[in-house]
């Protein structure tokens, strides 16, 4: 499934509302199926903002985002959320988990949200692959930075979504884990998943089939 943005723009306004403190200029982007795509760029250049727009959680002021043939911002909030739940796996930047739930409960959330059965064995297998199986029943608040990162990755890829949007998936990870994550993303790309990742990591850049650069809200 192809993911594309056409002429999307967005502004953040500061406290005073008058002048935007950040502007994502009219941006167009194609993330084709079967190619691992990466976006690099300085901190604050707008990479995460673009990713949020592509994920359907931040409505652009102008422009469209299409996933397959679906213009996702023409859907209602309910439809778009449901669509995201089933088809888009998002790995957010930084820590993201419900800290008081266990690792397993966190992974189960996307299933339980719409009453889908929780496939225990699948989850256990992938937790094992990412070295989290021992921590399965531990509350997420006790995890280290790297463990948090892997939890977010597992949560996003466990359902085998057709689109994966990863914001610095290798941040906080050691050499082995980085390799593990990147090769998994590569493998998923080759088996037909559309993967877009934001990264500062030179090694990750090496895995990518196409690389875009973001600079001050402009995608080059």
């Amino acid at each position: 499934m192809n993911l594309s943005a056409k002429n999307v723009s967005f502004k953040y306004y500061g406290k005073k509302k008058k002048k935007p403190i950040f502007e994502l200029c009219s941006t167009s982007l194609d993330v084709p199926e079967g190619k691992l795509t990466a976006i690099i760029g300085h901190s604050g250049s707008g990479k995460s903002t673009l990713l949020s727009i592509l994920a359907g959680v931040l409505r652009p002021e102008k422009g469209d985002v299409t996933v397959g043939n679906v213009d996702i911002y023409s859907l209602s909030d309910r439809e778009r959320s449901f669509y995201r739940n089933k088809n888009i796996g998002v790995i957010p930047q930084g820590n993201s988990s419900l800290k008081h739930l266990t690792v397993f409960e966190n992974i189960s959330l996307p299933y339980e949200m719409y009453g889908d059965g929780v496939p225990r064995e699948n989850i256990d297998a992938i937790l094992r692959q990412f070295g989290l199986i021992e921590l399965s029943d531990e509350p997420a608040c006790g995890l280290s930075g790297g463990e948090q990162r892997r939890l977010a990755i597992v949560r996003a890829i466990v359902r085998k979504p057709s689109i994966i949007l990863a914001d610095e998936p290798t941040g906080d990870l050691d050499e082995d884990n980085r390799k593990n994550v990147l090769s998994e993303l590569k493998k998923m790309t080759m088996s037909g998943t559309t993967v877009l990742m934001v990264t500062h990591d030179k090694e990750a850049e090496g895995y990518a089939d196409q690389v875009f650069k973001m600079e001050n809200g402009v995608l080059l």
Binding site: S52, S81, R84, P92, S96
Partner: protein, 401 residues
């Protein structure tokens, strides 16, 4: 179970410190209106039953008893007491214009020494002329009591053999009266013959109650029923002018004296409720705002994995509902316990009649106060949640959230 409810329960358990604080606030909100309204209602109820049990338009007592407050402490606090005046007053009052009926009562405090079983107030009445006690006896016993029988107030425990001994006079307890919430609940009623025997026997074994009056010529009070068409206050005033050494009090005045005192109590209770509510609502608004801010990351995550805005609001809403209903129920249960177990102490402290309202009114007020406090909690949390969930940008996951 719905996802929102399940997650709400997990969130409550996961943040038990925060939940407990909100739980306590909800409990405070509910129990303040519940407790406040039950107390106010019970005071009104007590006052009504007090007026009914007095059963006379005017009560005439010796001047000293009025001045020293002995009479009030017998009626309101159940502190046994006695006072006497000369029987002549009774006949004289009967002759007055506007007096339809007049009946004497005799107050005797039992002694705590060996001649008496318990320390109580004994009230004697004259079955022939009585109009104030008889209706209660008929209601609770079905017929008039005989010589040697006593009827006891609701707070008095009747012993297994049903017999009491006062000043060596054996009495049989035949029935118990309903609760009034006044000192009369710890009184014992007997007819004139019985009480005369007690008085004489007391006199014989050396209790010197009757200072200046002869035991057979003594009465404690005269209860007056005023003829229709006459002003109760006028009749009372006339008695006060014409008779030396006695005081005629209209029962309306007695009750209104208390109810003036009560309106002060009601104001204090009302003010306290307003204060507690103002404070709790302020604290709730601040805490919900803080909690929602602290939880932006959590909400943003739910959004990212496919939660709708409605779902996020639902999770927050269910958390608030569960906490405020739970807190309200617990708060009210505690308040009920406190009120029920301390109502007598409260009555004595306030020196007013206090009669708990009946069960189903308590039940309705109980549920109503839980409902009101839940609505308030939900409204304050909705305001806070709305600020977050209505804006996309507020829910963007950023490092550090």
């Amino acid at each position: 179970m719905r996802f929102e409810i399940k997650l709400a329960i997990k969130n409550i358990k996961g943040h038990w410190g925060r939940s407990a604080a909100l739980f306590a606030l909800a409990a405070l909100l509910a129990c303040s209106i519940f407790g406040g309204s039950i107390i106010i209602r019970s005071l009104q109820n007590g006052l009504r039953s007090y007026e009914k049990r007095l059963g006379a338009d005017i009560i005439v007592i010796p001047e000293e008893a009025a001045g020293e407050g002995t009479f009030e402490s017998i009626l309101l606090q159940g502190i046994p007491g006695y006072f006497y005046m000369d029987m002549d007053v009774l006949e004289a009052i009967r002759g007055l214009e506007g007096v339809k009926a007049a009946s004497p009562q005799f107050y005797l405090a039992s002694a705590s020494s060996g001649c008496c079983d318990t320390l109580v107030q004994i009230i004697g009445f004259d079955p022939d002329s009585d109009f104030s006690v008889k209706p209660w006896i008929l209601e609770n016993y079905g017929k008039m009591i005989n010589d040697g029988d006593v009827i006891v107030g609701s707070d008095i425990r009747i012993p297994e053999n049903k017999s009491f001994r006062f000043y060596n006079v054996e009495c049989r307890a035949v029935a118990k009266l309903g609760k009034t919430g006044t000192g009369l609940d710890s009184a014992i009623y007997a007819d004139m013959n019985t009480i005369q025997r007690m008085m004489e026997s007391a006199d014989k074994i050396g209790f010197d109650y009757f200072e200046s009056v002869e035991p057979e010529n003594a009465v404690s009070s005269v209860l007056i029923d005023v003829t229709d068409g006459y002003e109760v206050r006028d009749v009372a005033r006339k008695i006060n002018l014409e008779f030396e050494g006695v005081r005629a009090i209209s029962s309306k005045d007695m009750v209104s004296g208390i109810s003036e005192g009560l309106s002060g109590v009601s104001k204090v209770v009302g003010g306290l409720i307003v204060f507690i509510w103002g404070l709790s609502i302020a604290v709730l608004i601040v805490s919900f705002n803080m909690i929602v801010n602290e939880r932006v990351g959590e909400l943003a995550l739910l959004r990212i994995i496919g939660g709708t805005k409605k779902m996020l609001a639902g999770v927050l809403l269910w958390e608030t509902i569960i906490i405020s209903v739970g807190g309200g129920l617990l708060g009210n249960a505690l308040a009920s316990l406190v009120i029920i177990s301390f109502s007598d102490i409260l009555r004595d402290a306030l020196k007013v009649p206090l009669l708990l309202t009946n069960g189903w009114i308590i039940g309705i007020v109980f549920l109503f106060s839980v409902l009101v406090s839940t609505i308030v909690c939900v409204l304050t949390s909705v305001i806070a949640a709305n600020r977050i969930t209505s804006k996309d940008t507020a829910l963007i996951l950023r490092e550090g959230l």
